[in-house]
C-alpha cells in the first residue's frame, strides 16, 4: 500500500505529515543542532543540498519506497522527524528520529509510536529494523524497552529487529504511561 502525497494523521494529540521540500530549513536546523545530532550521521550546513535530498526523497515517496514525516503538536507546530525506509517484503527500517529540545513532553515517543503504527497497521509490514549507536545509552535503554531481538553489531551500532506483536505489547504500556491507555 502507498500513502497519498497529502497524507497526514492526528493521533494521541500528535500531528504527522509527509515531508516537503520547503521543510529543508527546519530539518537542517534539527540535524545541525549540536545538542541533538551527536548520534546522527554528519550533514553539512548546506540548505540547497538538503533541498536536493528532499527532492530525491519525494521521488522515492511517490514510488512508495520511503516515507519521511514531520512531527508536531495538535496545533501543527513542528518539533521533529521520523523516517520509514529501506522497505523489503515484510520489513522496514525506522530512523531519522530527532526532536527539538523544546518539544512537548512525550511528543518524541508518540511520534515514534505513530510512525511505527503507520508502518505496521497501514503499510502492512510485520517487522521493524533499527539501529542504535552503542554510546547513545538513553536511546538504547528506550529501544530495549520494546524487547527487540539484537540481530547484529559493529564497532559503532547495535542492530535490532522488532516484531509487530512486541510492538503492540510495549506500545500499550507506553500509551498508558503517556495517559492514552485504558
Amino acid at each position: 500500500m502507498k500513502l497519498p502525497s497529502d497524507f497526514s494523521i492526528v493521533k494521541y494529540d500528535t500531528f504527522l505529515r509527509l515531508a516537503r521540500i520547503d521543510d529543508a530549513e527546519f530539518i537542517l536546523s534539527l540535524r545541525l543542532n549540536p545538542n541533538r545530532n551527536k548520534h546522527l550521521s554528519i550533514v553539512s550546513d548546506d540548505l540547497e543540498a538538503q533541498k536536493n535530498w528532499l527532492r530525491d526523497y519525494k521521488y522515492r515517496e511517490e514510488k512508495g519506497e520511503e516515507y519521511y514525516f514531520l512531527v508536531g503538536d495538535i496545533s501543527e507546530k513542528l518539533y521533529g522527524t521520523i523516517r520509514l525506509y529501506h522497505f523489503q517484503k515484510t520489513k522496514y527500517v525506522f530512523g531519522s528520529w530527532i526532536f527539538c529540545e523544546d518539544a512537548p513532553e512525550g511528543l518524541a515517543i508518540k511520534g515514534d509510536i505513530i510512525g511505527r503504527e503507520i508502518a505496521f497497521d497501514i503499510l502492512g509490514f510485520t517487522t521493524c529494523l533499527f539501529d542504535v549507536r552503542k554510546n547513545n545509552s538513553l536511546v538504547l535503554r528506550y529501544h530495549r524497552g520494546w524487547n527487540p531481538i539484537m540481530i547484529g553489531e559493529n564497532e559503532r551500532n547495535f542492530y535490532f529487529e522488532l516484531s509487530y506483536e512486541k510492538f503492540n505489547t510495549h506500545k500499550l504500556k507506553l500509551l498508558k504511561l503517556l495517559e492514552y491507555g485504558h
Binding site: 513532553e105 515517543i109 495517559e179
Partner: protein, 76 residues
C-alpha cells in the same frame, strides 16, 4: 527509603550530567539532558528499585527531584 539514595539513583540515569550538580531541590527539567526518554528512564528506575509505578502525570506535575521522591515514598 531516603532522599539521598533516591537522588543518587535519579542522577545515575544521566550520562553527561555531573551527579554533584544534582540534588533534591534540582528542577529536573532544567537539566540539559532532560527529555521524554529520560522521564521513561526514571519511571523504569523507580519501578525496578522501589516497585512503585509512576505515571506520566506524576512526572508532569512534579518540578523537583524531591517532588518525585515524595510521590514514590507515599506509594511504598
Amino acid at each position: 527509603m531516603d532522599i539521598n539514595s533516591f537522588v543518587e539513583k535519579f542522577a545515575a540515569q544521566f550520562d553527561e550530567t555531573d551527579a554533584s550538580e544534582v540534588n533534591a531541590e534540582t528542577k529536573f527539567r532544567d537539566i540539559d539532558e532532560w527529555s521524554s526518554l529520560m522521564a521513561l528512564s526514571i519511571i523504569a528506575m523507580v519501578d525496578e528499585e522501589y516497585k512503585v509505578g509512576l505515571k506520566g502525570d506524576d512526572i508532569h506535575n512534579s518540578q523537583t527531584i524531591e517532588d518525585i521522591f515524595n510521590i514514590v515514598k507515599s506509594r511504598l
